[in-house]
Symmetry: C2
Amino acid sequence: MQFDLTKEFIDQIIIALEKEDSKFIADAILPLHPADIAEILELIDLKGAQFLYRLLDEELASEVLVEIEEDTRDQFLASFSSEEIADSVNKMDADDATDIIQDLPEEVQEQVLNVLKDNDQSSDISMLMNYDENSAGGIMDVDFVAANWNWTVKDALNKLREQVENVDQIYTIYVVDSTKKFKGILSLKRFLYAKDDTLIKDIYRKDSISVLDIEEAESVASKMEKYDLVVIPVLSEDKKLLGRITIDDALDVIKEEAEKDYQMASGISEKVESSDSLFVISRARLPWLLIGLLGGILGAYVIGFFEEHLRENAVMASFIPLILAMGGNVGVQSSAIIVQSLANNTLNYESIFKRLLKELTVALFNGFICAIIALIFCWITRSDFALALTIGVSLVAVFTYAGLFGTFVPLILNKYKIDPALATGPFITTTNDIIGLLIYFLIGMALYF
Amino acid sequence: MQFDLTKEFIDQIIIALEKEDSKFIADAILPLHPADIAEILELIDLKGAQFLYRLLDEELASEVLVEIEEDTRDQFLASFSSEEIADSVNKMDADDATDIIQDLPEEVQEQVLNVLKDNDQSSDISMLMNYDENSAGGIMDVDFVAANWNWTVKDALNKLREQVENVDQIYTIYVVDSTKKFKGILSLKRFLYAKDDTLIKDIYRKDSISVLDIEEAESVASKMEKYDLVVIPVLSEDKKLLGRITIDDALDVIKEEAEKDYQMASGISEKVESSDSLFVISRARLPWLLIGLLGGILGAYVIGFFEEHLRENAVMASFIPLILAMGGNVGVQSSAIIVQSLANNTLNYESIFKRLLKELTVALFNGFICAIIALIFCWITRSDFALALTIGVSLVAVFTYAGLFGTFVPLILNKYKIDPALATGPFITTTNDIIGLLIYFLIGMALYF
């Protein structure tokens, strides 16, 4: 059902929950899509959410549970017994069940797996539990439709009926040989309009794009994006077909990665949302603030060295913010371009040296423009050419340093397989502050003091 | 074909291009996926790319053209005649053709449309040209499979054969009434296993999720993400079925949006990649640098007011970087959380007041921790309690101001339908610098000078 969640609707639900008016709630909630119900659960308090959840029938409850955001779900399941969790998980696809079980505390995991051990999916779940959450195996779905290439179209139509029962959405039929080795895909279009006695072997398409189970989820996502794929088969090292990954699961990976980069650039050290608790938000923000604090203290030391000179030429202090702001901006800009190009795989074939040379040119070009404006302004308002020159030269120097440093650090981090996004944000700004101050005062010593 | 693009491969192609060795190039390139060929074209120079492109047959050439990145494609097509462009576009799906035509200079657009006017897709193209590029209509595909709900399964199987010809991938069958009004969807699963004389009306699913043609592409993308949809139907205001949007097109919108936010936060004013020309990169970066410059100059004015005091107490200057860095970090952190929550629709139901109160608590908490550390450090190393107190109090004040301002600005921008990401990055940092300095020196006046 098309449904737009409004504040009024939520308010009505909250009032009904206070009155424990089960009938009103059930009437309002049950016709909704599981994703909408999940959204409502995230917006009301835990007690209300649990009351509401128990009004859902088993199947709807398990669909809703899959859709709830991870943090809310963990809180939510904490109040459930292992048997209740097992019941909810029982109805799910093996991949969704695994995701939920993996997030449980270890002793609960064992209890849930124990209850589930007679379930027909338990072997799939144990298989999936072995994969890293960020590997292709960790995000794949083990329900798919596969036809043996020796079958005829008619055979396939009959034999696939049972497989189709377990699969939400078909997309494509995979073709395997008798040892389950992946051979290629059969488009529904060709399948639908082939003659009954045609062999699958004669109409399937080989050379289809696939991924290995141990491949990183990010690389799967970028492959799907590049080739505009909606679903991709997952193979074991010996080419056996293990499962499939649909674009919505890959999309989650792409989005999470982009959000992580953004948060790192903004100085937030763990995934937070504005709806998280005060404690979580403070904790995520404090580490970078402490780094900034350390940087500020080191900056105070640097300026301390020149305190005597400042006493005589206090005007030099006035331009500290200008130097710092420009160094910070240039550093963040240059590192952001590199981080984004790395994320998009658009800078594979240029050497680090060539890239630094390019950044140097940009830094000098923009640096000269800003330096000339600052110099003229400073000369006119302060009638002090030596000061103006100091500011101008410092700006060019800071631009050059900050641009090169901002380019170099993410490239080096990436080379040693460290997330280059670490280089952006407070780390680069803090280092830039200290070096920028040194540059400024040393040039001041040479030209002004 | 599975293919990993290596530097060696590109080098071989470049050498072959220099020798104009068409045979070697054709053998190496023609078996590749169009997306891989497009990637190669982006990595070699324009002349080489044009030579290589002319080796492709018409169909492959048009598939490659769709895959090439927009900037490269514009440069590339600039050297083609309108007839050549029309030939390439002729083979494409109407939506891809429209995308390419829309990016051409206006007079070329007209010429190309003129050549295409006898093409069977020309009416689709003119219809699509009317939509904003960022609306559902602007990203929809007009080729889809639709069945009349009065047909039987057998009718449908015959009648859909022709429609299927034009559609790359089916995904789902749409159900319409005799006036083309959208009724719902028919899953392939049910269609495949229904009896021949069953009416479509009896097996289709109504209440399917759809979007309007004028809806924003971003809202389409978030709907598809929320409901885990791979394809979504697009309707006119009077519920007629116009087309469908597949997740790969929606994905492009999601990614572009995330990248734009990231670049804004990093002070880059237009979409750039590290492979762009020096001029483009400099131009994208200069506007924010000029804002930073203006901020720095204003900052110099602020400090200028207190120059006499600084002459006597030069030590106050030492802590300018600390105050600025902390204000900047807090501001960016708080605005980033809001921008990201807005992008993910996770803060619909809290009032601005409640949100500011939350930010205030976080700012005070983190502010006190940092202030106490700074105060103790300052007291011990400088043995000057008045100075230490000034720094500590200033930090708490700056945290409070920066946190509230960083929260408030994106919320207000969003309320007035301006992209909240504008609030992040240099804009907030620059304002914070100036206000932070004022706060610091005013507290200094009260407690220290």
